[in-house]
């Protein structure tokens, strides 16, 4: 296996609370290989978006990446980098797409000039050249009439087209890594598949690695090579797509998969995981999932589970999995 493009180790992110700082993300570790698509899955509030922002070093103040965390991009630790180097990385080597295409474009300037800005921030080009590249990019992300759309304002485009513009913007500098934070959540179901296809095709043709944040296993199934499931600020299970969708080991992953509506279970009650994600700072002791876990036993509230490898590529952080292992 080649050296990973993105390596995250012991990532902890904290926010100030009434009594000291509270970690919202903690001991998160995963890697993304060049050209690979990794999905970060979890319920709202589990810390997946903030993890994505941490890769860009854009954790909103007063949040902070705790010392001891390591984020290595292309072999280089980016946490101690000066701000100017970091700015070159953002948009240049790492692109990012956001959840809300509706509000992610500046309403008072044309979409073309905004994509152009993304290029001019990182490359010295004459205006004509930059414009040509924008039109090329528009064509590549499947925007009809790219020449005319250059001068369109965001309000004149549909949600799907806006998300295409955002992708064009993020991919304009051919980044090595594309971070997509819930790229299809705000879109219609029909557009969703198109956008996912586009991301997958672009990534495949340009060799870009993708880190996709989602709560939707449909998205995972459509694009991901590997999956990391997050719960309450921690990764609870990782593995390839086939492993996680086919043989999930962690009770949380199993619960998530069971709660997807299935055609054969029509008319029956949809299964759910009882309870809600605990708030940061009120994490339960031991395994953080134990109050909601259907198979929790005596060890769970007392002891923090360690990593259990169930295959060369699949790991779970669960006492039950550990004890079941031969």
């Amino acid at each position: 296996m080649s050296a990973p493009l993105l390596e995250i180790e012991r990532l902890a992110i904290s926010f100030p609370a009434e009594h000291g700082r509270v970690a919202v993300v903690d001991r998160v570790a995963f890697t993304v290989a060049p050209g690979e698509t990794v999905a970060l899955v979890g319920e709202s509030g589990c810390g997946k978006s903030i993890t994505a922002l941490a890769v860009m070093r854009l954790v909103p103040k007063p949040g902070r990446i705790e010392p001891g965390s390591v984020i290595r991009f292309d072999g280089r630790d980016i946490l101690p980098l000066p701000v100017t180097d970091m700015r070159n990385l953002r948009g240049g080597k790492i692109g990012m797409i956001f959840q809300e295409p509706m509000t992610s474009l500046n309403p008072v300037t044309t979409v073309g000039s905004q994509v152009e800005e993304a290029i001019l921030l990182h490359a010295r080009l004459p205006a004509r050249e930059a414009r040509k590249r924008v039109v090329e990019m528009f064509a590549r992300v499947g925007i009809p009439d790219p020449e005319q759309r250059f001068d369109a304002y965001p309000h004149q485009l549909s949600g799907g087209l806006k998300q295409r513009v955002m992708i064009a913007m993020a991919m304009a500098m051919r980044p090595r890594l594309l971070i997509c934070d819930e790229p299809t959540t705000a879109l219609d179901a029909t557009i969703r598949a198109q956008i996912l296809d586009l991301i997958r095709d672009l990534a495949a043709t340009t060799g870009t690695a993708v880190l996709i944040i989602t709560h939707d296993f449909g998205v995972v199934n459509a694009v991901a090579d590997r999956v990391c499931v997050m719960y309450a600020g921690q990764i609870v299970e990782t593995g390839t797509r086939e492993e996680l969708l086919g043989r999930p080991r962690h009770p949380y992953t199993q619960g998530l998969l069971r709660s997807i509506p299935r055609p054969e279970a029509r008319g029956g009650r949809l299964e759910e995981i009882p309870g809600a994600v605990p708030r940061p700072g009120q994490w339960p002791s031991g395994c953080r999932f134990h109050p909601r876990c259907p198979v929790a036993f005596a060890r769970c509230p007392v002891e923090v589970p360690g990593e259990t490898r169930v295959s060369p590529t699949q790991s779970a952080w669960c006492h039950l999995v550990e004890e079941a292992r031969p």
Binding site: M86, G91, L105, N106, P107, V108, L121, M169
Partner: protein, 339 residues
């Protein structure tokens, strides 16, 4: 110094042409301008007339026919001056509008029936004086806005964008200024700076920026958290770039509205200052101040104060209605998405 004013006129006209072309090029601004014209045609025409008078009153040169004595002959005179010939077109004292004889006593007038709004105590034509006030009023409005808007934007945007210490500092400054009665501070500043037009405008600006600063700060606070600013950061844009590309353009509509509202507020404040005796030479406020004793005479001398008040009222009303329409047009809640 008259050539400075001539150059400014040329620059203003050139600037207006440039602005019109910019507006015509961008779809958003063009549509807004057309919409504004559709809604407030009368007010725009009125303001246009005021601007025209002010421009005519700003173009001046020395010499030319019709100069009175030697003193005036060596002075630059504006187009308005040349039309009215105030050196000769005057009476000895009061004359009622369109009267044939003097107001006190019945001596015949030099120009019977030609003073549309009569003359003042020194026999000066009131129409002429009122029209001379147009330029002063517009100068006050524009100059003060030019002082206020940069200060307020600088403080408001940096405070809103960077927050923390800068925000605390700016907020402290705003609170201190807001706690001092405006009029006292104004009078004190005018006394210190002097009584010229520029000085009074600076004084008005220094006291008037707080409100707009607060608006700019609040709006920046909101915009700073917007998704497109986050997206720009994720593209590697610097703070300065985000402010100039994404924050300031989104404040543009506020700047325009504030300009219109400030304009009228400042013209009115100057009238109050004149009333207190620290206003600008030749302003409507001064006319009103000088005319205030005339109201207690019998028979009443009403034309001085009426002329100044009507012009002041018309200008303020016209600009305010335009500002009102501008706000409706620029407000995303009343006009948005698919037009």
């Amino acid at each position: 110094m008259h050539w400075v004013s001539n150059i400014v006129v040329v620059l203003l006209v050139a600037g207006a042409v440039w602005l019109a072309r910019r507006v015509a090029r961008s779809r958003f601004w063009r549509e807004s301008a057309v919409e504004l014209w559709r809604r407030r045609r009368a007010a725009i025409v009125v303001v246009g007339l005021f601007v025209l008078v002010a421009l005519l009153d700003s173009i001046s040169w020395i010499g030319g026919a019709g100069a009175g004595d030697n003193v005036t002959a060596s002075r630059p005179r504006t187009i308005i001056d040349r039309v009215f010939q105030p050196e000769t077109f005057k009476e000895e004292s009061y004359s009622a509008p369109l009267a044939g004889t003097a107001f006190y006593g019945s001596r015949p007038l030099a120009f019977p029936g030609r003073h549309l709004l009569g003359t003042d105590i020194l026999g000066r034509d009131v129409v002429y004086r009122a029209l001379k006030g147009v330029r002063v009023a517009l100068l006050i409005g524009v100059f003060t806005s030019l002082v206020v808007i940069p200060i307020a934007l600088l403080f408001g945007v940096t405070a809103g964008y960077f927050g923390r210490r800068i925000d605390d500092g700016v907020f402290f400054l705003m609170t201190v200024l807001a706690s001092v009665p405006d009029l006292l501070l104004l009078i004190a500043l005018v006394m210190v700076l002097g009584r010229g037009t520029v000085q009074v405008c600076i004084a008005l600006g220094v006291t008037g920026w707080v409100r707009f600063c607060r608006i700019a700060r609040g709006e920046t606070l909101k915009l700073r958290e917007s998704d497109y600013v986050a997206a720009a950061r994720a593209l590697g844009a610097s703070d300065a770039r985000i402010i100039f590309r994404h924050i300031l353009p989104n404040l543009a509509h506020l700047v325009i509205i504030t300009f219109a509202l400030l304009f009228t507020a400042m013209v009115l404040t100057e009238a109050v200052l004149s009333y207190l005796g620290v206003g600008i030479e030749g302003s409507w406020g001064q006319m009103i101040d000088q005319a205030r004793n005339e109201l207690s005479r019998t028979p009443i001398i009403w034309w001085n104060i009426t002329a100044a008040a009507i012009l002041l009222f018309t200008l303020v009303l016209a600009v305010n209605t335009i500002a009102d329409a501008m706000r409706d047009i620029a407000d995303p809640r009343t006009r948005r998405e698919g037009q």
